[in-house]
């Protein structure tokens, strides 16, 4: 068979991917059906929110950001942390890591989609999305940190789509990927991952009117917690992939990520301690938000159980990681990962966004508890993200294990040491 041109092969590749996205075992169908149902409930709730207004949420003029932005912030961290494996894999040329790096990049893509969805559902006027685009709209760059965030997140998405797309398509064609087409982007993605979460942190830390956020330590804290959630989720994800597919996943990647997790949880806790010391030792009215969060203020203590739960989850996860080190029982590792993931979710969501608004800038205590609409939409977006991740893995892994190949691939010189 003659070698095919890209122009002829690519559309066929896309079509095959499209078909494969809907083809699987009964477990796959049940999983996707459940996620679709949840996602549709969320979509419907959002449609009602657009028509009736954001009054369907429980946000107010005092607490003007809530569950959506909390989850947005968390998902940016997850996207940044997902690419954490890239550093050991490429910077230290760790061959065993290379197999699993792509899983991290696919998680990053799914996370960024979730971020973008969380922003869209939080907008009062999603019909005016085009106003925020450069050239066609009016882009307040470089002054507004939100514009930096728009560029950073979309750029990150494109970089990861390119890298994964290129590598998967090359493998599909049986070609050895050309380093020039992906290696620079890989190194770019390392710096870019750090910058997406730095920029997101700067959104908050640049606001003088919100002393709870106005700290130089916020961006480092964001990165530390991102590098907790990324590895934690991937450790669990790799085990799931290992169980459900025959994609080769060695022990080394999981071990490397566990080492990383042990360090980043400690750094995250240390930074939290540093912030708490500064606030509680100095005292004064800038302490009000932290006091509300951990001890309650003026008769309000809605967030106190959440704050302490998050602290115990993070510390407990660290303890379990040491138990795992001793006993080598994966059960402890997995529980630690789940605990750290939830602990950071609380810390970044309830523990960061809400206290920034409570007390308000005029020191009024108006509290917030998400409404049913907000929960539906949030869960719907998480379901959509999981769907994207599932489909991405389902498409990528068979290609990478050469189960799915272009018909013409057999005719072309295959390289035994094809790298990813």
């Amino acid at each position: 068979m003659k070698a095919e041109t890209t122009a002829a092969s690519y559309p066929r590749f896309l079509w095959r991917m499209f078909i494969n996205a809907f083809d699987g075992t009964w477990k796959f169908y049940v999983w996707m059906f459940a996620l679709t149902a949840i996602a549709l409930v969320g979509a419907n709730a959002w449609a009602h929110q657009v028509v009736d207004g954001m009054t369907r949420t429980n946000m107010s003029d005092h607490v003007s950001w809530g569950l959506y932005i909390a989850n947005f912030t968390f998902c940016v961290g997850l996207a940044a942390g997902a690419v954490m494996m890239v550093i050991p894999a490429y910077l230290y040329d760790d061959k065993e890591m290379l197999n699993v790096v792509i899983i991290g990049e696919l998680l990053a893509i799914a996370s960024i989609f979730m971020c973008l969805l969380f922003i869209v559902v939080d907008m009062g006027r999603p019909d005016r999305l085009w106003h925020a685009m450069p050239v066609v709209g009016r882009f307040n760059w470089p002054m507004s940190m939100l514009t930096w965030d728009i560029l950073a997140l979309n750029g990150y998405l494109l970089i990861n789509l390119h890298i994964t797309g290129y590598l998967i398509y090359s493998r599909y064609r049986g070609h050895k990927p050309n380093k020039r087409w992906y290696l620079p982007f890989v190194f770019l993605s390392i710096g870019w991952a750090i910058s997406i979460h730095t920029v997101t942190a700067f959104l908050y830390s640049g606001l003088g009117g919100r002393p709870f956020w106005n700290s130089a330590l916020l961006a480092p804290r964001f990165l530390a917690s991102a590098f907790v959630t990324g590895p934690a989720f991937i450790i669990l994800l790799l085990q799931v992939v290992r169980r459900l597919t025959d994609y080769p996943i060695g022990e080394r990647p999981i071990r490397t990520l566990t080492y990383v997790l042990r360090i980043t949880i400690v750094i995250n806790l240390f930074m939290l301690a540093s912030e708490l010391f500064t606030m509680f030792y100095t005292g004064g009215s800038h302490l009000a938000s932290a006091k509300y969060l951990f001890f309650g203020l003026h008769g309000h203590s809605e967030l106190v159980p959440w704050a302490w739960a998050s602290l115990f989850l993070n510390i407990g996860a660290l303890a379990l990681l040491f138990v795992h080190q001793r006993t080598r029982d994966t059960k402890w590792l997995n529980i630690a990962c789940v605990g750290a993931f939830i602990g950071v979710w609380i810390e970044k969501g309830m523990g960061l966004i809400l206290p920034g608004f409570i007390p308000s800038t005029l020191h009024e205590m108006v509290t917030y508890k998400p409404s049913l609409t907000e929960w539906k939409i949030t869960l719907g977006i998480w379901a959509a993200g999981l769907m994207i991740l599932t489909i991405a893995l389902k498409l990528a892994l068979p290609v990478l294990t050469e189960k799915v190949r272009a018909a013409s691939a057999d005719a072309e010189p295959a390289d035994a040491t094809a790298e990813e």
């Binding site: 954001m54 950001w65 009062g124 005016r128 307040n140």
Partner: protein, 298 residues
């Protein structure tokens, strides 16, 4: 194999139908949809002629919606040689909230929520700590041992809200007023997070005002009835002040605690206050440089 494909096609069709059903409520927006409004650019990029077209459209819509022929929307420009300043006498304010009520009526605020751009804090005498203040009082005023501090948009010279808006829907006009283009705002509420003075309000739903309570003298950038999903704030009643009139809150104040005028006129009342009273601004350390000043008589 064929059955599998058939099942998949049925499944995909059902999925598409379910998705359409899920988003069905969006169809209710069809009546409000307007191509001209959708494509409308930022106010500052529009020529005067285009602004005229926008005003004509908005005015016609408002007249139809409220059944009132007297609704007029104007777009007064800044006045040469005028920069507005506002001062508030904390020795004179009795906390009666008539300013908040006047703002509520003048600016066509939603009736059910008693929304107003002015928030009056009952403060403890001897303390500037707003944490010991209370906006939700309902007893005869003035109370012993308390003083009253109304807070509204400070029209900052170095406004954090202007800095953070991703689409430049809010900006500082030449006469000092920070305005919002309600047809450009995307409702992200970043400005509300950035404002240190709780000056901004969001339209969590469409504001509801009975037709006979509508203030028909409306400004494009100030008190026309705002759409759902956008941010709004005090504009120093620019539809009045740019016509030389006093803002509604000042007219309603029974004690005369409010002083307004042209900062560039050396003979104005506001200049006299700034030069002869001990004047301060809120949260000065944030560097926002407000145009709203507070003073005590003694």
């Amino acid at each position: 194999m064929k059955r599998r494909v058939a099942l998949k096609v049925v499944g995909a069709t059902l999925g598409a139908a379910a998705f359409a059903r899920a988003l069905a409520p969006l169809a209710q927006l069809r009546d409000d949809a307007n191509m001209d409004e959708f494509l409308q650019k930022n106010y500052r990029e529009l020529t005067e002629e285009q602004v005229g077209d926008v005003i004509a459209r908005l005015q016609a819509d408002a007249r139809k919606k409220y059944g009132r022929d007297d609704i007029t929307i104007k777009d007064p420009h800044a006045i040469e040689g005028v920069e507005f300043g506002y001062a508030l006498n904390l020795s004179m304010c009795i906390g009666c909230r008539r300013c908040a009520e006047a703002c509520h009526k003048e600016n066509n605020h939603d009736r059910k929520t008693n929304n107003s751009y002015i928030r009056v804090l009952e403060m403890k005498q001897g303390s500037m700590d707003m944490g010991q203040g209370n906006a939700d009082y309902d007893h005869p005023v003035p109370q012993k041992g308390k003083y009253y501090m109304p807070v509204q948009c400070q029209q900052c010279d170095n406004a954090p809200c202007v800095k953070v808006c991703p689409v430049q829907a809010t900006w500082k006009e030449p006469d000092g007023v920070v305005v919002v283009d309600y047809n450009w705002c995307i409702g992200c509420r970043y400005c509300m997070a950035a404002c240190p003075y709780h000056a901004r309000r969001f339209n969590w739903k469409k504001p509801e005002i009975p037709a006979d309570e509508i203030n028909p003298n409306q400004g494009l950038l100030s008190n026309r009835v705002r759409p759902q999903g956008v941010v709004e704030k005090c504009t120093f009643c620019l539809h009045r002040t740019r016509n030389g009139q006093l803002p509604a809150c000042l007219e309603a104040c029974p004690t005369g605690a409010r002083v307004f005028g042209n900062l560039l006129d050396p003979k104005s009342d506001i200049r006299w206050v700034l030069e002869n009273k001990r004047v301060f601004v809120l949260k000065e350390e944030l560097g926002t440089r407000p145009r709203f000043f507070y003073f005590f008589d003694v």
